[in-house]
């Protein structure tokens, strides 16, 4: 807001415009570009490597699409992709459902009790991932030892990873849904009850359409967080179970397969597209659905 003031005016509009952009503006543009390069250079590198026909990162061997073909033929990569997607989808779904229940019930709680429960739910978000991961690993170990007395075992793998992801997704979904729920005018809900709707019907027809944007953004947030997670998965997975992230981690020492670059590029572009299309979609849809029901 101050930029213009720094340099003198002669008064005439045309004269000022030809005086050029002030130094501050040029410097801030350069700085923006610098940060932009810092953030996007690694991504550019990865995308370029996914088209590199040489197997090693050190050499550029010309353009190729072979890794995009080969990744679909690699059973291990496809299994990791499947695991990643299923875990992300399921954990986001369950966390959203739990988060919705939590939000509704938290709003009915007394202030003090609510803030206690809320800060407990928030722990996985505020705590270090490594500690959350270790905590979850230990509880599964302890539970396994406890159950072994009756001959049961806990197998580290899909189920433990899923539980871990739901746990760290939960605070994010609650924090996406709660504010929307808070904004709602309770009298519309009461009006629905007054007009003879059951509680469930009133919730579904009056409240849900209003909080749908929050629910959807909570779901998307949980989905992308889960998709990208490494630390929690690392501690809660067992041998033989891999997601894309854990596969990258174990492959680092022997060298990453170029197929992984192709896979990640493909996922990156997919999410980008989904959010570009979806990003505006849900709000419009929610609004129109809401209207059509009224």
């Amino acid at each position: 807001m101050q930029e213009e003031k720094a340099f003198a005016k002669t008064g005439a509009c045309a004269v000022r415009k030809t005086e050029g952009i002030p130094l501050r503006k040029i410097l801030s543009r350069i700085y923006l570009i610098f940060i932009f390069i810092l953030l996007y250079a690694p991504i550019a590198v990865l995308i370029v490597f996914s088209f590199n026909s040489s197997r090693t990162r050190a050499k550029w061997g010309g353009w190729t699409l072979q890794w995009y073909v080969r990744m679909f033929q690699d059973a291990a990569i496809m299994a990791a992709l499947r695991n990643t997607l299923i875990i992300a989808l399921l954990s986001a779904l369950i966390a959203t459902l739990l988060g919705l229940m939590a939000s509704v019930s938290l709003l009915n709680m007394k202030h003090k009790k609510r803030s206690v429960v809320l800060s407990l739910i928030d722990i996985p978000m505020l705590n270090a991932e490594i500690v959350t991961g270790i905590c979850l690993m230990l509880i599964f170990i302890a539970l396994g030892q406890f159950l072994s007395r009756w001959g049961y075992t806990i197998e580290f793998g899909f189920a433990t990873v899923l539980i871990g992801h739901i746990t760290f997704n939960l605070p994010y979904t609650v924090l996406s849904i709660m504010p929307k729920l808070r904004q709602i005018n309770t009298s519309t809900y009461e009006a629905a009850l007054d007009l003879g709707a059951s509680r469930w019907l009133a919730f579904r027809k009056v409240i849900l359409p209003d909080i749908l944007p929050g629910v959807l953004s909570g779901f998307m947030l949980a989905f992308t967080l889960s998709l990208d997670d490494f630390v929690i998965t690392h501690f809660t997975k067992g041998p033989g179970f891999d997601t894309i992230s854990t596969k990258v981690y174990t492959e680092v020492r022997k060298g990453i397969k170029p197929e992984m670059y192709a896979l990640s590029t493909l996922l990156f572009v997919s999410i980008l597209l989904i959010l570009l299309i979806f990003g505006r979609g849900p709000k419009k849809k929610a609004a129109s659905e809401h209207l059509s029901r009224v």
Binding site: M1, E4, K5, A8, K9, G11, A12, C13, R16
Partner: protein
Amino acid sequence: MSNRLIDLQHITKAFDGTTVLDDMNLYIRENEFLTLLGPSGCGKTTTLRILGGFETPDEGRVIFDGQDITSLAPNKRQLNTVFQKYALFTHMSVADNIAFGLRIRKKSEDYIREKIRYALKLVNLEGYEDRSPDSLSGGQQQRIAIARAIVNEPKVLLLDEPLGALDLKLRQDMQYELIRLKNELGITFIYVTHDQEEALTMSDTIVVMNQGYIQQIGTPEDIYNEPQNAFVADFIGDSNLVDGTMIEDRLVEIFGVRFACVDTGFGTNRPVDVVIRPEDLELTALPEGAEPGSEEYEEAAGRITQMNPGFLEGIVSHVIFKGMHYEMEVRARGFEWLVLSTRMFQVGTKVLMSVDPFNIQIMNKPESEDEKAVNPEGGIG
């Protein structure tokens, strides 16, 4: 000339291609309470921000005390601003807020302490030094904002809708406070508002603005009694604004009826805008069933024309009791006239409506396209 403190010359300002101020010229005298009045988007706040130094005009100059301050930074100007919604520093105590400008100027702590006490006394908030701005009511925050500005002894205080966020009762109290402050401080106040009542109550001079143009400059009485165009008439107070034809000097025709007036110089048979304030319309009830030509009708009409030639016949269509008076609507010749009267006329009453020639205000119709933009449709934002 010597008491022209501020001179705005040919000020033009556009945002994103939309002209907010167009070749505005205005001077402000020393020691005057000047109000910029108009609907939102009329350019009044932009004018104030140009004075404060928060905007630079695209064209034109701002002369302050004989010096060109057009591109002077706000921290170098001898004016202080009281912002909309107060803009207090919430991380500081009341005393630190007030001391802010003085500390910047490196005044001694003794001087600052004295000034804080003086300023708080002036705004009737003694003993509030250590309070946090967040803990104060809107009215109190407003006073602190004023105190913070005036301790710097500015020559001019700029006030940007300072009462907008307060409730009605407090707003009225603060109007008296501001007048008292201005008299005690003896400095120039430039006040921005969209509230015509505020403007009429406090100002020495009112500048009515719309769509980047000054519509009229004058005392509150001038503005109220003699609006220069349809916009001002419609914006200030309630009024009946109708089309008329100036038959000749001192004679205007409204809805086919000729009325005497006092205006001259509009030519002959020229279409004009006519303004009649609702309190200036005089009603005479007709007995039921009195038709034109009947004895009662002619008698009533005769009584009126003795005093004011010309009247309109109408029927009362709405009555609302407003405490001091009745607010009525009278339908006459297809137009709903607003009438204020201390006497009540039942809905359905047939009335004859007349008006004193002095209370008919004649205005030229807008001529150019630019002036047409000045129609009252803008309303009060």
